[in-house]
């Protein structure tokens, strides 16, 4: 669909603070919260010091339309942005990202194969799975079947509002093997089956949208278990002395990547910044703050032993976990979202 440039122009004028086109400091955008706090400490501030130029950091909540609007409006006011795999695939196909200069990064073979792309460099490997409060539950849930079992574990469940993840988890709860999930979901019967399974849990679901919400829900006791991002769980356990657990089997992992928006005025600086964050020494500092896996193979080996076990990339944790199928979701996101919204409204 052709998007009128005027709409985008008007939208960006209204919704986004358009800064002047002239020389502007390197602007890096990430997911906010304690994750971005950690990034600021180990990436943003050291890079600004090393390069001698100021670096601005902003946060966003995702949404491909946001990036597209910025690029189509002319010169974007963001340079390096951390995006989810789906946004990476869509934007790379649409040509709204600059191509990555892999020479600056020391070559593609230094990274996990999934973290290498024409338009993006993997930044973290993160998981979505079941989380629960170890202080409140005597017996820990172990599978999606447990998540759906309201007799064994009475109480409400938190789920991220959206078709993505919810449908996969529903199928796993219904007995589909993790490896088979996307094959089943690709058929209309598979989609019906997932929705039917969701129906069974619907009265007990509290839907969340922002990454910090499931932790609040869990802390307040509003839900007995919830889906959550693994990194935030171990972060909270360390800072607030909680004993939240995370179930890796049946979890879905995905890679977030750094991209550079097309026609960014700070293209080279942004590339240098991404190279800086991808250096093994720098990247290896991240798991101390937040338990996300590292795409740089060398960095993964530098992580201290005590943090290794919490990472989605730890061999034990990868067993029984599956990778998010980007192709499936780029094809079906709109249709399934529409159906999901209709299902919610019933």
């Amino acid at each position: 669909m052709k998007i009128s440039k005027a709409v985008l122009f008007a939208c960006s004028l209204l919704a986004i603070n358009v800064t002047a086109v002239e020389a502007r400091d390197l602007t890096v955008v990430s997911w906010g919260g304690n994750y971005q706090d950690a990034q600021r400490k180990i990436y943003f501030e050291p890079f600004a010091k090393e390069s001698g130029k100021p670096l601005l950091d902003e946060s966003w909540d995702g949404g491909y339309g946001v990036l597209q609007a910025k690029v189509k409006a002319g010169v974007p006011n963001w340079d390096a942005v951390q995006v989810e795999a789906e946004e990476l695939a869509l934007g790379c196909a649409d040509g709204i990202y600059e191509k990555i200069d892999w020479n600056k990064l020391g070559g593609k073979d230094k990274f996990l194969p999934d973290a290498v792309g024409d338009c993006g460099v993997g930044a973290i490997v993160w998981s979505t799975g079941i989380s629960y409060d170890g202080d409140k539950l005597k017996q820990a849930p172990a599978s999606w079947a447990d998540f759906w079992d309201t007799e064994k574990f009475p109480g409400k469940r938190g789920l991220r509002k959206g078709a993505k993840y919810a449908l996969e988890f529903a199928l796993m709860a219904d007995g589909v093997a993790p490896k088979e999930v996307y094959t089943v979901l690709a058929t209309p019967e598979g989609v019906d089956r997932a929705f039917k399974k969701l129906d069974a849990l619907k009265p007990n679901i509290v839907w969340w949208e922002a990454g910090a919400q499931p932790l609040q829900l869990l802390s307040s006791g509003e839900v007995v278990m919830t889906t959550a991002y693994n990194g935030r769980i171990s972060g909270l356990n360390r800072t607030e002395g909680k004993h939240f657990g995370f179930v890796f089997p049946g979890s879905i992992y995905a890679i977030d990547s750094w991209v550079i928006l097309k026609d960014s005025p700070n293209k080279d600086a942004a590339m240098d910044f991404i190279a800086f964050t991808s250096k093994p020494d720098n990247q290896a500092k991240l798991p101390e703050f937040i338990a996300y896996g590292l795409p740089n193979i060398e960095a993964g080996k530098l992580v201290p032993e005590k943090f290794q076990a919490e990472l989605p990339t730890a061999p034990d944790n990868l067993k029984g976990a599956i990778s998010l199928d980007i192709d499936f979701w780029t094809d079906n996101s709109e249709a399934l979202t529409q159906r999901f919204n209709a299902w919610l409204a019933q």
Binding site: Q68, V206, S220, D331, T337, N341, W343
Partner: protein, 392 residues
């Protein structure tokens, strides 16, 4: 130059900034939004040869070799990645699966220079329905697809308007819900706001300042702080429920959050000032002698209120209601955070299409439907109030 003409020019110059502002920031975006809802030029632009080849296809027989040759030719010619991206999005939005199909096909087409058998690249090309989507997309540069989809309608393969099967889309349900919730919030605002405005108008000095300050306070706090506060109050282990249980009024926590009740409470809280202030300003403008006059003429206080104060304050109630209703229509963060799955309003759907799916056509169409429905309500209101004015 006559004095009159100069006066007109001066007044024109005075309103010019406002006019310009309205055009640039209101009329223009509104127009482009409406345009994006109905314009659909991308397929015609990206696939010129196919547009020709598909124009006389009957859409039921098997795809011809000319059609597939023209399509292959078009794919080969597209060098603009963004145009290609738009095309993919357009086709995939009409039929899921197009994205991988067309990307895969393009890679195959680019790999060779000669003709190519599409069904060998992907067997989906033998399926008529994919060709039908392309035929529809290239048939015209304007479309009613988005507008129809916004109210859960679609064109079937023969081109007739049909209802989208239940369960596939819920725009209509969500639109109706949006209006019902806005109405409920407006009613709650009247019920709380009218007596409040009366009290505020009847006292003076610091008491009045305090009352008005209390009602304005929510406007001065950020949305998220306010929402967090409601969360603390309304959750199962929250202040209200623990108080109710402490008082023994209930043994089980009353469900106040993640449902309609919570959303209406929170939205009423935020929008109350828009109801109280217009009513208040009308009430303080009513001469203080009218109520004593009514009493001296034999009216019991209740009747005096109904016959004198209420009709006079109605203007404030109506303008307050319009303000509250219109603002409530656009809410989506509060329902998203405090409401349950069945309390989402149309704005969240629009936001999904705009920022999530980058489907500006659908976003524009839903916005347009909301706008038209609101305007219709406004016209009804104008009619009603005009009739009231005419009646002696």
């Amino acid at each position: 130059m006559s004095v009159l003409f100069r006066k007109q020019m001066v007044s024109l110059a005075l309103v010019a900034p406002l006019l310009l502002f309205l055009i640039v920031f209101f009329a223009f975006p509104l127009f482009t939004m409406m345009k994006s809802a109905v314009s659909d030029p991308v397929a015609t632009q990206a696939l010129p040869a196919s547009t020709n080849a598909l124009s006389d296809w009957d859409r039921s027989s098997s795809p011809t070799s000319e059609m597939s040759a023209a399509f292959v030719e078009d794919l080969r010619q597209i060098n603009d990645d963004q145009l290609f991206g738009d095309l993919v999005r357009r086709l995939n939005s009409a039929k899921a699966g197009f994205r991988t199909l067309i990307t895969k096909t393009r890679t195959a087409v680019k790999a060779t220079a000669g003709p190519i058998d599409l069904t060998a690249v992907d067997k989906r090309w033998a399926d008529n329905s994919y060709w039908q989507v392309i035929a529809i997309a290239t048939s015209s540069t304007i479309t009613d697809r988005n507008l129809l989809a916004a109210v859960d309608l679609e064109r079937n393969s023969s081109g007739a308007i049909d209802t989208i099967p239940a369960g596939a889309s819920a725009n209509r349900t969500i639109l109706i819900r949006t209006f019902t919730m806005a109405l409920a919030v407006t009613a709650a605002c009247i019920l709380i706001g009218f007596p409040f405005a009366m009290i505020a108008a009847s006292v003076e000095g610091w008491r009045r300042q305090l009352l008005l300050g209390a009602v304005l306070l929510p406007l001065w706090t950020s949305l998220l702080v306010r929402t967090a506060a409601w969360f603390i109050l309304l959750q199962d282990t929250g202040l209200i429920n623990s108080t109710l249980m402490f008082l023994g009024l209930t043994t089980e926590p009353v469900s106040l959050i993640f449902n309609r009740v919570g959303v209406v409470i929170a939205m009423t809280h935020v929008l109350l000032p828009f109801m109280v202030l217009p009513i208040f300003s009308v009430l303080v403008g009513i001469p203080k002698t009218l109520m004593p006059a009514a009493a001296s003429l034999g009216a019991h206080p209740v009747r005096a209120f109904l016959a004198v104060l209420l009709p006079l304050a109605l203007r404030g109630v109506i303008s307050g209601s319009l303000l509250v209703f219109m603002s409530a229509l656009g809410y989506y963060i509060t329902p998203a955070l405090i409401g349950g799955a069945k309390d989402q309003m149309i704005s969240s759907v629009i936001a999904y299409y705009a920022t999530g799916a980058a489907n500006w056509g659908m976003a524009g169409a839903l916005g347009l439907v909301l706008l038209v429905a609101t305007l219709l309500l406004y016209v009804v209101y104008l009619r009603l109030s005009a009739e009231r004015e005419l009646k002696p």
